[in-house]
Amino acid sequence: GIDCSGDSHMCCRKEFFVDFKEIGWEDWIIQPEGYHMNYCAGLCPLHMAGIPGLAASFHTAVLNLIKANNADAAVDSCCVPTQRRPLSLLYYDRDSNIVKTDIPDMIVDACGCT
């Protein structure tokens, strides 16, 4: 996948870090110190359907499908996460118990066009 930089308008991953100390959550979340809430943004014009982040052959297959179905009028596709990982948290719950859990699919590692 591509990380957003400069003023590219194409589909890419934007990094965004939430520091728990800055939002006053460091007293009840013991670990980690923050959350990488990355997200996907940008355009997915026709010629980018199916890339990046997915198998190159997928991109070719999608383009062939578009041509075969004469879908020139097709609208743009969508910029979505193509790779994610869990967020591991060690925190105090409402009864001051200490809980460790992994929340699945919370951190976006790569983006791509559908």
């Binding site: 939430v18 943004a41 948290l89 105090y92 001051s96 118990n97 200490i98 809980v99 460790k100 929340i103």
Partner: protein
């Protein structure tokens, strides 16, 4: 609108100012984490655990896990030890430190609270860790009772009773998986442990324990996956 007409590349609307965008993203992050932890709001911590007690508890849990990996026997109550994490299903490890309850010269009560969020989970394992600070030779018979409120919540009933012969100081563990599961299943939140010694020698547990030797329960839970409807 932003100072210079900046447009959002994806939707063509006027882009948000960086400050507004940041505020929205932080609000989204808070909402996302709280909803995934099934918490209505961020908890207010009244009594944070001492670092010593936390480190000791984590060390004890790791020691028990190494022992059970070496000789994975079946725990006392026959529940199968939790060996393979479910793929993609959210799992929890919970450390609940004791709250002191009523005590006499021969007995002491300890309370462990299990939070409401566990109502929809399956308790895979729960182990009670007690530190015996025994003084003097010989053995000290101790009766450990697990008490839980009756369905009406009025009286305490004995869920199980175990008699131990304490011979030397140190940590001891007791499997309380079944009791914690039935508590969570009933929607109750408090497990009460009563320790009683035979003669008037003062509970072997309370002598000289504080801080990093405080009793705790370590539990493993797994979110229940919605039952799959069998297609006939």
């Amino acid at each position: 609108a932003a100072p210079k007409e900046v447009w959002c590349p994806a939707c063509g609307l006027a882009a948000l100012t960086p400050t507004t965008q940041r505020d929205i993203l932080i609000a989204l992050a808070k909402q996302s984490i709280l909803s995934k932890l099934h918490l209505p709001d961020r908890p207010n911590i009244t009594q944070p655990t001492s670092r010593g007690a936390l480190l000791t508890a984590l060390r004890r849990m790791r020691a028990l896990r190494v022992d059970s990996a070496i000789s994975p026997g079946v725990p006392h109550d026959g529940s199968t030890p939790h060996l393979h994490p479910g793929m993609g299903v959210q799992e929890y490890e919970i450390l609940s430190f004791a709250e002191s309850g009523s005590s006499t010269s021969r007995s002491v009560r300890l309370h462990f609270r299990f939070t409401r969020e566990l109502a929809g989970t399956e308790i895979l394992q729960a182990t009670l860790y007690l530190f015996w600070a025994v003084s003097g030779p010989g053995t000290h018979p101790v009766t450990v009772r697990l008490l839980q409120p009756d369905p009406a919540g009025l009286n305490m009933t004995v869920a199980s009773e175990t008699r131990l012969e304490v011979q030397r100081a140190g940590w001891a563990t007791l499997d309380v998986g079944r009791s914690v599961q039935s508590l969570v299943g009933q929607g109750s939140q408090r497990l009460t442990v009563e320790l009683e010694v035979a003669e008037d020698s003062g509970s072997p547990l309370l002598a000289g324990h504080r801080g990093s030797h405080w009793p705790f329960v370590a539990a493993q839970a797994r979110a229940r996956t919605p039952h799959r409807v069998q297609r006939r």
